[in-house]
């Protein structure tokens, strides 16, 4: 069995491909996994299921071609890329100057195999990007049971695409047309990366899925957009213009890299794109109209977070030439202007995504705000890069500019030792319940996970794209880098001002303790709940609960409706689950 596959991945929305100067709109990616790959495509972590929701038929799988490449251990799938100039085969050469320009994509029949191979490749690339030793450095677990995420590349006609936890799937829909071609959300790299990021984020911070605070749901959106934008920076075919010096301007301003889902956005009347991570959006209520966001809308709010992190990316990209690891790499390889820029891009993307995803990893469980996430990012960055405060400075400054108030991280356990086994931890917790502001009657769930604090390799070995689905961390970690990530979570009650929905409501809160293996506490993080976060919850719930009922709603067919949002009123206390699903699958609220 061959352990790796070479996948052709579409990197530019078809309708806007003709407007861009790029060497090719298809990017070759090599993915490896010890368990190998199957027809479908399918592998241990991801499987394409080309199920037509209209007819209930499964479209044929993409056939595996073990001898499709000249490389040892690297197979491929039998695909033909439909272009406007006829069918092309994969640009097999991975050499930077030898790729085949496939020009613009031609119209795709619904049973073509290229789309499913391309979507598969983008999903794996997104996973690889986050799992990279430079970013999270571990294999991500899904939020559902089982190891495999299913992906439906063209489920049916609808203007939507979403991650759905209960069916363990990403679902991409299609409809409408631009320039005479049907718009497939699965052909948008941004949309596929964005939805994959939702699945990844759900695996890391599953409580955000059922949060009732708009900022918690916006964390999902903001990080998913950032991931999509930074993935597009990794497309060598887009960053390299044939016969020209690559300019850095495009990476620092609003451009095809920072704009999310151009084709889909144009179709749905959102101007140039659905959203743009290069923005000046702020939560400051006194800011100018064009910068202010609707704080009860997770999608609108998310631009504050993605915009803030994009500023961090830009600062890192500008500073990269001065970084020793980038300098060393560029000099040693005697790189061209284009290759040097690719190293800078990889460095800035890795550092930014590392900051974001490590923060998410350390974020206490529950209804977190942007301030909570930024505190977690700063805390993790401090431990991973103790001698490099630049990013933390930019983050603090940008948070202030965007109306996010940071509070000081609690230092109360700095001198304490924490146990690592659950029974002793519970005794520890009971002794410190008040310090954590845990209500006396709240039941606390404790989780402990081993993790490593190490020096991430920010500059990649080479600029070609080849990665293993299980990152090899042996070079970076050892017993010395091992730590415990301890999380406490409980249900918190607050008064409920939504008329007709009881007097109290519940949401989840939590705290994180990071300790070394001898039990010495290094960091304590705790979710902060302020009158502002409470009022934003009210505004959001007001919108979400319009037309909802506390009792299970039954459809005309006698089956409970799928609306997503589940409101439950017991003893005048309101509990809500499924807000994330309601926002995405139904999408009636925004």
């Amino acid at each position: 069995m061959k352990r790796g596959v070479l996948l052709p991945v579409l990197i530019q929305d078809p309708a806007v491909a003709g407007e861009t100067e790029a060497r090719s709109i298809v990017h070759p990616v090599v993915v490896k996994d010890s368990a190998g790959f199957n027809e479908g495509p399918a592998c241990r972590r991801v499987a394409m299921v080309d199920l037509d929701f209209h007819t209930g038929k499964l479209r044929p799988s993409a056939k595996f071609d073990p001898r499709g490449t000249p490389y040892r251990d690297i197979a491929t799938y039998k695909v033909a890329i439909p272009t406007k100039r006829g069918t092309r085969s994969m640009p097999w050469s991975r050499g930077s100057a030898k790729g085949t320009d496939v020009g613009e994509l031609g119209s795709l029949p619904l049973d073509d195999t290229f789309m499913k191979v391309s979507v598969f490749g983008t999903v794996l690339r997104t996973i690889g990007l986050v799992q990279d030793p430079a970013v999270l450095g571990r294999e991500i677990e899904w939020a559902f049971s089982g190891q495999q995420l299913l992906v439906v590349p063209r489920a049916a006609e609808m203007d939507n695409a979403f991650y759905h936890r209960e069916s363990r799937s990403l679902q991409f829909y299609y409809g409408g047309s631009l320039h005479g071609s049907t718009i497939f959300s699965g052909l948008s790299q941004d949309i596929v990366a964005h939805e994959t990021a939702h699945a990844i984020i759900d695996g890391i911070a599953p409580d955000l899925y059922d949060a009732i605070s708009p900022e918690s749901l916006a964390i999902h959106e903001g990080l998913a957009d950032l991931t999509a934008a930074l993935l597009s920076m990794r497309n060598r075919e887009l960053t390299h213009k044939p016969g020209q010096r690559t300019s850095t301007k495009e990476f620092l301003q609003s451009s095809r890299f920072s704009r999310i889902a151009e084709e889909f956005g144009r179709w749905r009347g959102h101007g140039d794109a659905l959203r743009d991570v290069c923005n000046t959006r702020t939560m400051d209520p006194y800011a100018a109209d064009e910068s202010r966001v609707d704080q009860t809308s997770p999608h609108s709010l998310s631009e504050v977070l993605s915009g803030l992190l994009f500023v961090v990316f830009k600062a890192l990209f500008s500073a990269a030439p001065r970084d020793a690891s980038v300098k060393r790499k560029v000099n040693r390889e005697n790189s061209s202007n284009f290759e040097a820029i690719r190293y800078r891009l990889a460095y800035a993307c890795n550092r930014t995504l590392g900051l974001a995803y490590r923060g998410l990893d350390w974020l206490p469980r529950g209804d977190a705000s942007f301030a909570d996430l930024i505190e977690a990012m700063i805390a993790a960055d401090q431990e991973f890069f103790p001698n490099d405060p630049r990013v933390r400075k930019v983050l603090r400054k940008e948070a202030r500019l965007r109306g996010i108030s940071l509070t000081k991280t609690k230092q109360l356990f700095r001198k304490l030792q924490v146990p690592s086994d659950e029974p002793t931890l519970r005794t520890f917790l009971e002794a410190h319940r008040k310090d954590f502001d845990i209500p006396s009657d709240a039941e606390v769930t404790i989780t402990v996970r081993k993790m490593h604090i190490y020096q991430p390799p920010l500059t990649p070995f080479s600029t070609s794209e080849s990665f293993d689905l299980k990152p090899n961390m042996s070079k970076f970690t050892s017993e010395k880098t091992e730590h415990n990530l301890i999380k406490f979570t409980w249900l918190q009650k607050e008064s409920n001002d939504l008329e007709g929905w009881g007097t109290k409501r519940r949401y989840r809160s939590g705290a994180t303790v990071v300790a070394n293996m001898s039990g010495a506490v290094q960091t304590v993080l705790q979710l902060q709940h302020t009158p502002m976060t409470m009022s934003l919850r009210s505004g959001f719930l007001q919108k979400m609960l319009n037309g909802e009922s506390a009792t299970l709603q039954i459809g005309p067919d006698g089956v409970p409706l799928q609306r997503g949002l589940r409101a439950n009123l017991v003893n005048e206390t309101l509990s809500i689950t499924g807000a994330m699903q309601a926002l995405h699958v139904v999408g009636e609220f925004e």
Binding site: A42, L51, A156, R168, D557, E588
Partner: protein
């Protein structure tokens, strides 16, 4: 002839409302009449002709040979449109109608002017056919709420009724939307009462929500997971793809409801609001457009379902707890139990009772008979 009277008929599940408005054209006092809708849904026209017979008889008695001055068809659902055609086919003589207002999208060439709405409409028609097929496959067409849904949204039957209503007015038929300014003498004959149109938007494409198509199970086939795909995950995906039939039915129903004409009549200081079956999207659009005003009367939307009456934030703008004047407030609910699940919705009725002095329901009277509300 000093009181304005609203006459709301019990037509089972549907609307049939007559408004008798005293008017004075400067020379003499007259009683003018506005008729809203007339339709119902419970198994199609055959079984409901008797209801419309009583309604049309009562209309003719009250009009005593005078015409309906203005007929308003709020939206294209059988429970709002089928009555007049049904009564005529049953051999009844209908009253004369001078002016008619039909919702903008009922115009014959509407979809040629609004291509996005045309696309959405086509998707919804296809969805209706698919839902119908699935309901047949699953043996659901006999279930009362499913049957009511299928009848109510049946595009062919509705099309016949709307075609009839397009030519029912002897003077002028106008296709109405929120930008429409009613001109006395041209689109209605009223001198003292004034009309204001709050909804729908002329381009109705924004009223169509997302519909996730429900997968049809092919007879005798069992989907098995392809090689290399987790069986359990695949089963969960197939289960999801086959679920949501009820949601799809409601999405189809909602799209037409949201095209309802929502209008007020202002007369001698009273402001009376008639909102067809407008649902949340329409209410939100009205709010955004700054249309909402405090009213003294509301014809509760969508038969008092949980999704036809807006949330407290919007209700506060039309029925504020801090009242702007001391006039009585009334809500009218035209409804019928056991047609759709949870309609009328008790919580919605309680919400309304909290804001009005009187809540009148058509179920308070016998089938074919009417309840009356007067304003002096």
């Amino acid at each position: 002839m000093t009181a304005l009277t609203i006459v709301a008929y019990n037509v089972l599940f549907g609307d049939a409302i007559l408004i008798c408005v005293p008017d004075n054209n400067g020379r003499k006092s007259v009683m003018r009449h506005v008729l809203i809708d007339v339709g119902n849904v419970l198994g199609g026209p055959e079984s409901n002709a008797h209801v419309f017979r009583s309604v049309v008889d009562d209309l003719n008695r009250r009009l005593d040979g005078r015409p309906i001055d203005l007929y308003v068809m709020t939206h294209e659902h059988m429970d709002h449109v089928q009555g007049l055609l049904c009564a005529q086919q049953d051999g009844q003589e209908l009253p004369q109608i001078d002016h008619a207002w039909l919702t903008a999208s009922a115009s014959k060439n509407y979809y040629e002017q609004f291509p996005e709405a045309k696309k959405q409409r086509a998707l919804h028609l296809a969805a209706y056919d698919r839902v119908h097929r699935i309901a047949l496959q699953r043996g659901l067409v006999g279930v009362a709420p499913v049957r009511a849904f299928l009848d109510n949204n049946n595009p062919r039957r509705t099309g016949d009724c709307v075609a009839f209503l397009r030519q029912v007015a002897r003077k002028k038929t106008t296709y109405v939307h929120s930008g429409f300014k009613p001109v006395p003498g041209e689109t209605h004959p009223f001198s003292q009462a004034t009309f204001s149109i709050w909804a729908p938007e002329e381009d109705t494409s924004s009223y169509y929500g997302r519909m996730r198509p429900v997968m049809q199970k092919k007879r005798g086939t069992r989907l098995t997971a392809p090689e290399g795909v987790d069986q359990e995950a695949f089963a969960a995906l197939v289960e999801f793809s086959r679920s949501g039939l009820g949601d799809e039915m409601l999405a189809i129903d909602r799209a037409a409801n949201n095209t309802s004409i929502v209008f007020t009549i202002e007369w001698h200081g009273w402001r009376l609001l008639f909102c067809g079956d407008a649902e949340l999207r329409s209410w939100r659009t009205m709010e955004k457009q700054g249309q909402l005003r405090p009213v003294h009367f509301i014809k509760v939307g969508h038969h008092a379902s949980h999704n036809g009456t807006p949330g407290e934030d919007i209700l506060e703008q039309i029925l504020p707890l801090q009242r702007p004047d001391s006039r009585l407030r009334t809500a009218l609910v035209s409804t019928c139990k056991d047609t759709y699940n949870g309609v009328p919705d008790d919580k919605t009725l309680d919400k309304l009772r909290h804001r009005v002095d009187k809540l009148v329901q058509t179920t308070e009277t016998g089938v074919g008979e009417a309840v009356e509300i007067t304003f002096e």
